[in-house]
Every structure is written in C-alpha cells, then in structure tokens.
Amino acid sequence: MRTPSGHEVYAMGAEYPSPAALYEAAKMVRDAGFKRWDVFSPFPIHGMDEAMGLGKSWLSAVVLAGGISGLLTAVLVEFGPSWGLYPLIVHGKPYDWRTVPAFFPIMFEMTVLFSAFAAFFAVLIMNGLPRPHHPIFNWERFKRVTNDGFFLVIEARDPRFTELEARELLERSGGQHITVVHED
C-alpha cells in the first residue's frame, strides 16, 4: 500500500491520553480481529497482555533450558577433572558419592549464571533487538513513547487492514493524532 506521494505505508497509529484509554482501545482492536498490531507505552501496563489477547511469555522455557545446560556444564567441568583428569586428594577426602555435596555450590552458581545469560539473550532475541532502525521511528510524535506517550499502531500488512477501517476504529476508540506511518 502506498500513499499518494508514493511512500510505502507501514502502519496507522494513534495516540491516547492515558494508560486506561490505551487499555480500552486495545480491547476494541483485539475484538475487531486484527492480528498485526501493537501498543506502545513508557512502562509495561498491568493487564495489557490480556487486553491484547496475548498469552504468557514463553521466555521462561528458554531460561529453564539455560539453567539445565548450566547444571550439566558444571557437572562436566567439575567431575571431569576431579574424577578423571586430575584427582586431587585434599585432607584425605575420598572421591566417591559421599563427597558429591562439596561440588554442589559450583553447580548452583553455574546454573544461575547460564539461566541469567539465557534470560538476557532471550529477551533481546525474542524481541528482535538490537534493531537500530524501525519504521515506527518515522513518526515524529512517537518520540514521546519513552516519556509520557501511549500509542496504538495497526500495521498495514495485517490482512484486515484497510485505511478506512483502521482510521474508523482508532477514532472510535478515542485515539488522537491519527497518523499514517511510512515505511521509509
């Protein structure tokens, strides 16, 4: 879709005066059946995931995998040298199942370390970050999103998207400064 001036259309966006207004608008857009849309706010709005029809984030599964790999790494790194490569007898303590608890602290630390890395990289990768530029930044008003702006944006590639319907819906939901955002 292109504007008369020849710009590729990325989306249509609207600004809302408050988190509560944005929350109500999100419920309307969800109920209208749109799929490729998003809301933008300076802070996470409590209850917005339900209002947008989003489920629980599956990032926790990635973190669990990270934690398990950390634990296994620690088992390998500790028992490999201690029982195979370089058995070190200190205080006359034997190497058998009775001394396994002495290996637990490092297993715990490695589990936490790998889980934390998994959480950090997962949040970036799942969000498609770092991403230096995004078409939404072409919208001058959008700068306020990190200050006190609350925005709802319906993307043009949504199968239900028509300029008329999107504009009508954004107006009906109380959106202000309704704007067509260009792709370039």
Binding site: D38, S41, S57, E109, N127, R131
Partner: protein, 482 residues
C-alpha cells in the same frame, strides 16, 4: 481481569480511607515530570560540586591504584600480613565490599519478588552500587594471591601442566560465586536500564548522545509485545538473583566456617553473614542516596517514607546480626571448648578490645536501636549518623572475625599481632575512592532512578483506577493520608 474493587478503591469509598497507602511519589507528579527531573540530572552540565567531589575521590582512587601497582610489583610483604595473621585487611575489605553489594540485589530482586513498590525509587542506584562494590571487592582476593599473573589457575582451563583446581574448596566456590554474582548483577542492571536508555536516546540533542544511547538502548520502542517478554525476563532475573545473593555471602562465610579456627568454625556463619551484608549494604545505600536526593532535589521520588522503610530494614537485619553476636558468645560458653571460650574473652578484653566495644557493640548493636523510634527514622541527621556507624561497624566486625580469629594461635608461642602498613591503609582508602568515583560517574552519565519503573507506581498508571461512580482515582500508591 476481575471486576471487584481493589483494596485502595474500597478504601476510597470510606470517608477517612484508613487503608489508603501514602503515595510513593509526592505532590501528584506526572509521567513527564519524572522523565524531566531524572533525565535532567544526566543532561544538564556537571555542577561545580560534582567536579570538586570527583577530583577528590579520583585522587584517592589514584593513590589506591598506585598502592596496588606497588604491591603487585613488590609482593604481599608490603602489607602487614604475616603468620599467624595471614589474612588481614585484604580479606576484611573483600568481605566488607561484597557485603555492601548485597543490599543492591536485595532491593532489586527480593523486594521485587515481594512486590514492594517503593523499591522503584532506589533500585537503579542500589544496583549500580552493587556493581561498584563487587568491583572493589574483587580486587582483594585477586591481588592477595601474590602472583596475580597466576590467578588464571583459579579457572578450570585445560593447560599444559595438566593441573586442575580443587572444586571442593570453599575458596574455589568463592571464585564461582563472586564472578557469577557480578555477571548476573550486570545483566540485571543493564536489562533494567534499556527502557531508560531509550528515553535518553529520544531526548538526545547531540549526535554523540544520540549515537551512544541509541546503541545501548538496542532500538527499544516500548512495544507491549516486547514488554511482555521483558517483564518475564525481569521477573526471572529477580528470581535467579534472590537465591544467588543468599548463596554468595554464604559461600564467603564458608571460607571461614569450613576451617578449624575457634570463632570461625561455626554453623551460624552463613545466615549471620548474609544478614550482616544486607545490614551494612542498606547503610551504604542511604549514605549515597541521602546526599544525592538533596543535591538533585529528588525529595518527591525518594520520600521520607522510603528512608523510613530502609531504616526499618537496617533495624531488622541489625537485630539478626546482634542475635548472632550474642549467640556466638553463648555457644562459646555452652560448648565448654577452652579455645572457643578463650577466643571470645579475647575478643572483648584482648588486644583488639576497642574494635569490639566501638565497632560491634556501639556501632552494630546499639546505634540501630534508635530506629525503633519513628522520629529517628524521619530525621535525616539521625539516619545519616546511624548509617555512618553501621558502615564503620561492619568493617570492624569483619576485621574482628578475621584478625581476631587469627592473631591468637593455638599455642601461645605462635601468637602475633597485626599492624597495618601504609600500603594496607591506602589500598583500602583507594577502593573507597574507586567506589565513590564510579558512583559519581554513574549519576552523571546514566539515569540514577529507574524512570520506567517509577512511572508504574503513579496512580494514573493503573488502568483500573477510574471507578465507575466518578471517584477520584486512588490506586497503586494511593493518595496522601490525611
């Protein structure tokens, strides 16, 4: 979402609203005021006091770095450590600094899990304090090994000699605990910073700011689809940091508890050390935040209520610590062990008697008792006085545990005493300089308060705040109690 009213809404319907909580941000400030006020600290020119402070702390830090260089090039003999006192100021400083870090993680992780919304005003700077404290802490075990260039022996790396570390040693656990703690704290801190870096990016006026904040904000745009994963990551990082922080000081205490020395060989050490860490750390948080709050006029964000709550945590953890002190004496008596009994008599009446009377008794046990009184918790000067006592007291406590435990060996012929050298003294003062310099740089270049998190606790951030019958919104944080 449920439809029944929240506690606050219910409270709003009664005439005097006895259940309404005092607001976390005073004077009904709005979102953009928070952005302006906190970004302004970073964006305005550095005030003159900042340059004065930074020059002083930077100079002290330079002395510290010089001493470290001298100690590394000459040897551990530049310190006063000698048998029987093989650990002295080095490990005292290590435990002191690592303990200070723990308050930052308590605020950012444990209070988050406990849904203590007041943490949002202080978590960013407390986490920064954690990082800088752990950096200072890491210096000491690093250089006390003597040959710093051999420190890689601590890492389990495949090497030509076929030598591997002893994974069953508490010192080895310490290496893993502290390095994991630092790494996870950095990740948690940076994750929290991303939305605020985006704020600074969008406000940037110069090219260099735009570029740097742009790079570090990773292109954050506040999308709710991103917030969804972000909040999960934040929750999990908090959940991971909580057992981590408890483990770190427990492992530090194992360095002592797994030995056979009287006063060290005790099972009370892990909880005792963790409580002491949080106790000392909160004192340091207040030591840094009370001046910062006054200078940058952040009284609406860091309110008397925040200081009051932190004072209560100091009182609580101080009570744990006092209990541990008393219990140590009780067990020394009750055990009937002659060495243990002697060690504790020696603590009170021996050569280091005044460390115990001033540091442990006055600073750590008695001074926090002032916080039983609301008037004291609300009086900045009293709070600052107690925090300074606790800062000093917790350093003395570690010194008493370490040197007090070592200087009287089992045989009187092996007894010794510890005298610090100028290198000892200036290395420690140097880390104070490094710590404060890093903190000053932090408040100049990064938002010292988590803007995106403080905005959540404003009443208008709650989408359910507007009750149908037109009552004024009273939500998270509530209205001023009258």
């Amino acid at each position: 979402m449920n439809d029944w009213p929240t506690v606050q809404e219910e409270a709003a319907t009664t005439s005097d609203r006895p259940l309404a909580r005092p607001p976390l941000v005073l004077n009904r400030r709005n979102f953009s005021w928070i952005t302006e006020r906190i970004s302004g600290v970073v964006e305005d020119r550095a005030p003159r006091w900042w340059w004065v402070c930074f020059t002083i702390t930077g100079t002290i830090a330079m002395f510290g770095l010089f001493c470290l260089g001298y100690q590394i090039s000459t040897g551990v003999g530049t310190w006063g450590n000698n048998i029987p006192v093989g650990w002295a100021w080095d490990i005292t400083n290590f435990v002191f600094w690592i303990g200070i870090g723990h308050a930052g993680t308590l605020i950012s992780a444990i209070l988050f899990l406990l849904r203590q919304k007041w943490r949002t005003s202080i978590n960013r700077s407390a986490e920064a304090m954690t990082l800088f404290a752990v950096m200072c802490a890491a210096i000491f075990p690093g250089v006390h090994v003597g040959r710093v260039w051999m420190a890689w022996y601590l890492a389990p790396v495949w090497n030509n000699y076929g030598i591997w570390p002893n994974f069953r040693s508490p010192l080895m656990w310490d290496v893993f605990a502290v390095s994991t703690y630092f790494t996870v704290s950095v990740l948690f801190w940076y994750t929290g910073l991303i939305p605020d870096l985006a704020t600074l990016r969008d406000r940037a006026t110069t090219k260099i700011r735009k570029f740097l904040f742009g790079v570090f904000a990773c292109g954050w745009r506040g999308s709710n689809r991103n917030w969804r994963h972000y909040e999960m990551a934040y929750l999990l990082l908090a959940g991971l940091s909580t057992p981590l922080v408890l483990s770190v000081h427990s492992v530090v205490s194992f360095d002592f508890a797994s030995s056979i020395l009287p006063t060290w060989h005790t099972t009370i050490f892990p909880p005792y050390f963790v409580a002491g860490a949080i106790f000392g750390g909160f004192a340091m948080v207040l030591t840094l935040l009370i001046p910062a709050r006054a200078i940058f006029k952040l009284h609406d964000i860091i309110t008397p209520q925040h200081i009051d709550k932190m004072a209560k945590i100091i009182l609580l953890t101080g009570s744990f610590v006092s209990y541990a002190y008393v219990m140590e004496f009780f067990v020394a008596w009750y055990s009937g062990n002659a060495y243990e009994r002697f060690a504790f008599w020696n603590r009170v009446l021996g050569p280091y008697w005044w460390y115990w009377w001033t540091g442990m008794l006055f600073c750590n046990i008695l001074s926090p008792q002032l916080f039983w009184f609301r008037w004291c918790r609300r009086n900045i000067l009293v709070v600052y006085f107690v925090c300074m006592c606790v800062n000093a007291g917790m350093w003395f406590e570690r010194f008493i545990i370490i040197v007090g435990g070592l200087h009287r060996d089992f045989i009187p012929s092996s007894w010794g005493i510890f005298i610090p050298t100028w290198v000892d003294i200036w290395t420690f003062l140097g880390t104070l300089g490094i710590f404060t310099s890093l903190f000053l740089l932090f408040i100049r270049f990064l938002p010292m308060i988590a803007m995106s998190e403080v905005k959540i606790v404003l009443p208008e951030a709650d989408v359910h705040a507007h009750s149908p019958n037109g009552h004024h919104p009273v939500a998270a944080g509530g209205m001023e109690r009258t």
